[in-house]
Symmetry: C2
Subunit: 343 residues, 2 copies
DNA sequence: ATGAAAGCGCTAACAA
DNA sequence: TTGTTAGCGCTTTCAT
């Protein structure tokens, strides 16, 4: 039933060479004569030999495994990222070990330990907060970490985000140009840099126009809390209700639209303009047609992989880099479009 | 910078025992005296020792890595499954290596080879077709495979699905009870067992009532093809247009609803009843409120993990098992509800 | 219950 | 370019 595994030793003897020769043939940058390559390839093919990645990892100290820590896959942005990340890394000969950091914060420590046990070559933390303690452990282990969609000024850890401040600003300018008088904001989880930066940019642009937030509730990036936050903001008399709201991500914005339209019977955008952040697939669905700031997932993933591989190849040379990628405001029909709006 | 890694050897000497003793302390079913356990744990804690999973895998032949092959994460059902699967497996001390089998069929072979290179203890193939050749390679390697949401009568490979035939049947009965006269079906990818079984159950129930499909197009479970398929079916005169349609999964059903309502200006369910399959989160959103057959992801994942671990523990003893899990029809407002409907 | 010894399959100096 | 020699860090008989 269970075929004995073919090792490099057997390939070596069948090809009449040493195991080192076999190893070299299967190692990209190695030197072997064409004749050897040919013999070894032939023998390997006949035997159906494939190098054991784990053994290789042990001997070389490089596992070609990248750990991905992700909090939740409910927000469609993340499955998309995971798919792209996995594909890109596969192209570079790496593979992705996924760890869910579902629950509480203490969990993260455990998850990071587990991931380090696998001797991963690098770690991507998506939408997960890092303690400086964790970052220290990774650095001690010599494992580079790149934060995805989270930025943190911890011990020179690299991070890739969209330009959340600029994004928030764009939304404010758009809403102001639309003549909105009572502008609300539904915040994400306050511990997240995305939340912080989006709000900062948003408020800064309002302030520049001599305006302030009319209302603010917190949705925590969570489905249920977002629903509650939307109700708290809109289930009130017309005078106390915002005529426009910026929601910190699309996942919550879609929920807010549901509350506004189906629970409260208000019209979007006639009664309330809604703008989100991310541009997840569902935002383009005609039932929502949500105006939103696009996060360029492709670019963000490319930068993440680039940063990671650079760090892996040159552990010390490179210092942490923070990349922030600008994303356009995608104008759809969920928010009133200012007269003659172009930019 | 990069701390030298702590090995069992150092723990051993600090605890005044042999490496074997250390190994036993960190091995669940092993025998060590309380005194030894205590000494070793203490030394390990002081040194911050953690066993190297890769080395352990090499020596023991068990990597505690499960390979997950998944075609695409666009259909929300799969991120959900991935999250649950990863969490469940983590509880059992396993971890998930994700491989995307994005493109063509030939790709699958490559992906399976890559995954086997990691000496995974088992493989879950989600929504991916298996050739019997691949299954043979996995069996030769002694690696159990469980198909998720795909069933195939290949060499005793285990599979976990929902009861697609029963599901299709339920939909047909519901639509018939609703008094629909022209019932259409938008098919998924014809190579998929889910597609085949859902359609079979659906048609069987129609036939039992002396009825047949009024129209049929193919959406391939793909976003774009589904849109085309929906247009092909509904962009026609009222007489040639179905008054009800069963769409092979929710992902396509939501797209079909968009086409029906927003492109063609028809009303759901007054002009057309729409029923899907999966019960993804978006189906419960009030903008769609899609009647659908629920796939019980939790149960399916549990059965998958159970099957896999059983196979891993008792490689030969167990023969392939096919689990199919019944799921309820979730009645919402996208399809006309028959008078006094209960079941 | 414990330690010694022999690997798991591979890569990486080092010599030749 | 090639083979030889040591390991990578751990588990696992086998004695004791």
């Amino acid at each position: 039933m269970e075929q004995p595994k073919i090792t490099s030793k057997e390939v070596a003897s069948r090809a009449g060479v040493s195991r080192s020769a076999v190893s070299r043939v299967f190692t990209p940058g190695a030197s072997a004569s064409p004749a050897t390559v040919k013999k070894v390839r032939k023998a390997a093919a006949e035997l159906g030999y494939r190098p054991n990645v784990l053994a290789r990892a042990m001997a070389s100290g490089r596992s070609r495994i990248i750990g991905l820590v992700v909090a939740y896959l409910e927000n469609q942005f993340y499955p998309d990222v995971l798919e792209k990340l996995s594909n890109t890394l596969q192209d570079y000969g790496y593979h992705v070990l996924v760890l869910m950091a579902s629950q509480a914060a203490g969990n993260i420590d455990k998850v990071v330990d587990e991931i380090l046990d696998y001797q991963v070559d690098g770690i991507v933390m998506a939408s997960v907060a890092m303690s400086s303690d964790i970052s220290k452990r990774c650095q001690a282990a010599g494992v580079p970490v790149v934060l995805f969609n989270r930025s943190q000024n911890v011990n020179g850890i690299s991070a890739v985000t969209s330009d959340n401040v600029a994004g928030g600003r764009k939304v404010a300018e758009f809403l102001l140009a639309g003549g909105h008088q009572r502008i609300g904001y539904i915040a994400g989880w306050e511990g997240a840099s995305t939340q912080r930066d989006r709000e900062a940019g948003f408020r800064a642009a309002l302030a520049a126009a001599g305006r302030d937030l009319f209302a603010r509730t917190v949705g925590d990036f969570s489905t249920e809390t977002a629903r509650t936050a939307a109700r708290a903001m809109f289930d009130t008399s017309a005078a106390h209700r915002p005529d426009a709201v910026f929601v910190a991500n699309d996942h919550m914005a879609l929920i807010a639209m549901d509350v506004i339209r189906y629970e409260l019977g208000l019209r979007v955008p006639q009664d309330v303009s809604v703008v989100g952040y991310d541009d997840v697939p569902a935002s383009a669905w005609p039932a929502y047609d949500l105006t939103t700031v696009r996060q360029r997932a492709n670019l963000m993933v490319e930068e993440t992989v680039d940063a990671l591989l650079t760090l892996i190849e040159a552990p010390d040379a490179v210092t942490a880099k923070h990349v922030s990628i600008d994303g356009p405001l995608i104008i759809r029909s969920s928010a009133r479009i200012p007269e003659g709006w172009t930019a």
